[in-house]
């Protein structure tokens, strides 16, 4: 699950946090979230606008 840095005490705010690597190094990621240093990022990509092929002009 991707996480985004909130606090500059942890790193550059807005950048993604390597939670898996941190956990492997003994970092308690849940405590960072509880303390307000990290937040789960949704990482959703916007859906493309629907196009109606019936209305497209023919050549």
């Amino acid at each position: 699950m991707p996480y985004k840095i909130i606090s500059p005490r942890l790193g550059e705010p807005g950048t993604e946090y390597d939670a898996e690597g941190a956990t492997a190094n003994g970092i308690n990621v849940a405590a960072l979230v509880a303390g307000g240093f990290l937040e789960q990022s949704t990482n959703e990509t916007p859906k493309p606008a629907k196009t109606n092929s019936k209305n497209t002009p023919k050549d």
């Binding site: 909130i6 606090s7 190094n25 003994g26 970092i27 509880a34 303390g35 307000g36 240093f37």
Partner: protein
């Protein structure tokens, strides 16, 4: 020269959070438990190395603001984490400024006292874990 001037200005991180500007004291005690191995026929006691059980005590100002001391520690009680420190914040991880780390250190309690007219201090002790040194 027998001595050198050293201004203590260590860098400290708790659970990857830098608390250098909240820390005013640090005591690291590296302990490897002594197991007695004295046997018959000897005239003095002898010991061998047991388990490592080092501790790191930090004296931190009791700031309850966002992203400060209490926010860093509050969810760590009863869990293990990684704490690291180096003698200076400038170019850590070198032979003359080694970065030392306790990985998997346990935080048992968060004691603090608040008194009128003084800055509160939270003294926490991280116990156990694996000790390592980075000095490239």
């Amino acid at each position: 020269m027998a001595t050198s001037t050293y201004l203590s200005n260590p860098n400290v991180t708790v659970n990857a959070v830098s608390l250098q500007d909240q820390c005013q004291g640090l005591v690291f005690t590296r302990t490897i438990e002594a197991l007695e191995s004295t046997a018959f026929g000897t005239t003095s006691r002898s010991y061998t190395a047991g388990l490592e059980n080092s501790t790191l005590q930090l004296d931190l100002y009791a700031s309850f603001a966002a992203s400060e001391t209490y926010a860093t520690l509050k969810a760590l009680v009863g869990t293990t984490t990684t704490v690291s420190w180096s003698p200076s914040a400038t170019s850590p991880g070198t032979a003359t400024n080694p970065t030392q780390t306790l990985t998997g250190a346990y935080l048992e309690i968060i004691p603090y006292t608040l008194a009128l007219g003084t800055l509160g201090v939270i003294s926490v002790t991280f116990t156990g874990g694996v000790f390592s040194v980075l000095e490239v």
